[in-house]
Amino acid sequence: MNLDYLDFEQPIAELEAKIEELQLVGNDNGLNIAEEVQKLGEKSRKLTQTIYSKLSSWQIVQVARHPLRPHAKDYIDRVFTDFEELHGDRHFGDDKAIIGGVARLDGKPVVVIGEEKGRSVADKVERNFGMPKPEGYRKALRLMEMAERFKMPVLTLIDTPGAYPGIDSEERGISESIARNLAVMSRLKTPIIATVIGEGSSGGAIAIGVSDWLNMLQYATYFVISPEGCANIIWKTAEKAPLAAEAMGVTSTVLQELGIADETIPEPLGGCHRDFEAMALTLSERLIEQLERLQSEPLDMLLEKRYERLMSCGNS
């Protein structure tokens, strides 16, 4: 089994392995196998298309958590220029589960805040697997308030298994830190665009998610409780997570229907982990366009719209 592929992608992995093998054989023996490789490549693309056109909610959850999926840092490096990371909440510490700083998008100054799960084992541990503690959300708040002062829009990248459930988190008021962000973001006098790039889990996600425009990457997911958590409560076993994912409607399709997500940003075939550059390019184009639109609106109208949107959410 190829670990770079999810279990439902294994047929694709087999084809890709065959292609690789053929190329090796061809190179070694000077044979012309271009035609064969092309055929197989086409077959692989078709197969990927077929598999990805009918993903279940649970499969999308797995794509959203794919170990090779680009993280906040990957987008910060590609979508923005001139990024300077800023650290610390000025009270307790610097939470590496949240990266924040000033940067330029299409040459214009912005504040970027993203939840970062980490890539290598050491990096993951340092970033607490993308589970922020209160100081992370307070750092985010500090940067957002700075953005307001200097009239910079705020762009957030959501990707977390949830706010950290630990003793220290509770001691330092994780609930308050999330609640405060929700309150302040609802009236922050600058445009906010939030993008769920991977996994948007519950309070830990919405704590940087109140916005004028909410994007979801095509295979990103956003939920009030993880499918495993939901399954544990209802069926008393995490194995029923696929059912929970289906019932809760965790995908961009459902969330757009509910009027919660504003836009689904298409991913490269087979998920954005197959092509970081293409994904970053699409995201950057969308953000530039969205920001231009939001910045052309009078600020008081933008804020009133943000507020009304929050107030009417879920009211049918």
């Binding site: 706010a163 950290y164 459930p165 630990g166 003793i167 988190s169 509770e170 001691e171 330092r172 008021g173 994780i174 609930s175 308050e176 999330i178 609640a179 405060r180 929700l182 309150a183 302040v184 973001m185 609802s186 009236r187 519950s202 309070g203 919405i206 704590a207 998610g209 109140v210 956003y222 939920f223 009030v224 409780i225 958590g229 939901c230 409560i233 209802i234 069926w235 059912l243 929970a244 019932a247 809760m248 409607g249 965790v250 459902v254 969330l255 509910l258 919660i260 507020y307 929050l310 107030m311 959410c313 879920g314 009211n315 049918s316």
Partner: protein, 317 residues
């Protein structure tokens, strides 16, 4: 075996949820100190054990009833009903779960709101009904809370919310999560306008409600021994793989760590909140026109002593 068990006819005993036996009707047993509690006495003491000060859980309507003055009460938005937008179904349909909860509690959803007076000063109060789906917050709860807050904004009336909840309601999925942002947004407007909001946490307050409206009070209060936090103790234990310290997430822990302003006994909530609000709204504190619970409160007024003393006063009455 207590004296009560010995004298009680066996036919009167029923098993309660915890497996203990309590006599049906007039007597029950304190869940903490096991003292026999005489129902009418307990009610006069606002469902606080006179022996050990254990605060029993009480429903939303009783909560509001013991808090507001008797006169000039008006329930708000009683017509708001939950909507099953997702057609959520697990082992049961969410719709059926709602019907069952409505039947057993008599409420349409897990929040009751009312305008009224606290010692003759206008106030809006919202209270969570924990018996309704664990007091969880979905669209109806969020909407009802927001409407109560809107009234406060419009008329510049203080808002007091008693929370008792497991958090956001799973069955309404992301719509529930959004209620966190919604309630926080309107509370922020109150804050900016200078309309007071007092959050009272009663056992238990967790998850999405803790991480929104419950923690955003101008003043955060908790009842003694109430548990409040973001993640439930089970989740934390599973994550960190160690036992949690004694008293973790109890009011006393919250006070020590700076999350709340004060711990206030249920018997003193009316007095304390009236006093706080009179300062925040710049009023001189009006005298109490109609004491709701004369026995308990007069006992407190004349004798600010310990719980045992109050109970003795009550028992001799």
């Amino acid at each position: 075996m207590s004296w009560l068990d010995r004298i009680r006819p066996t036919g009167l005993a029923t098993k309660n949820k915890e497996g203990g036996t309590v006599p049906e009707g007039l007597w029950e047993k304190c869940q903490r100190c096991s003292a026999p509690l005489y129902r009418p006495e307990l009610e006069r003491n606002l469902d606080v054990c006179p022996k050990c000060d254990y605060h029993l859980r009480i429903g939303a309507r009783r909560r509001i009833d013991i808090f507001l003055d008797k006169d000039n009460r008006e329930e708000l938005d009683a017509d708001i009903e939950p909507v099953d937008r997702l057609k959520f179904k697990d082992v049961k349909k969410y719709k059926d779960r709602l019907t069952a909860a409505q039947k057993s509690t008599g409420e349409k959803d897990a929040l009751v709101s009312m305008r009224g007076e606290l010692k003759s000063a206008p106030v809006v109060v919202a209270a969570f009904e924990f018996a309704f789906h664990g007091g969880s917050m979905g669209q109806a709860v969020g909407e009802k809370f927001a409407r109560a807050a809107k009234l406060c904004l419009e008329e510049n009336i203080p808002l007091v919310c008693f929370s008792a909840t497991g958090g956001a309601r799973m069955q309404e999925a992301l719509i529930s999560l959004m209620q966190m942002a919604k309630t926080s947004a309107i509370l922020e407007r109150m804050s900016q306008q200078g309309t007071p909001y007092i959050s009272v946490m009663t056992d238990p307050v967790y998850g999405g409600v803790s991480a929104s409206l419950a923690m955003l009070g101008d003043i955060n209060i908790a009842e003694p021994g109430a548990r409040a936090g973001f993640a439930g103790p089970n989740i934390i234990e599973q994550t960190i793989r160690q036992k949690l310290p004694e008293g973790f997430q109890r009011s006393e822990f919250l006070l020590e760590h700076g999350s709340i302003d004060m711990i206030v006994s249920r018997l003193e909530l009316r007095d304390t909140i009236a006093s706080l609000l009179s300062k925040l709204t710049g009023r001189t504190q009006p005298g109490e026109t109609q004491p709701v619970v004369p026995q308990a409160e007069s006992a407190l007024d004349t004798n600010p002593a310990s719980g045992e003393d109050i109970s003795e006063t009550n028992i001799t009455q």
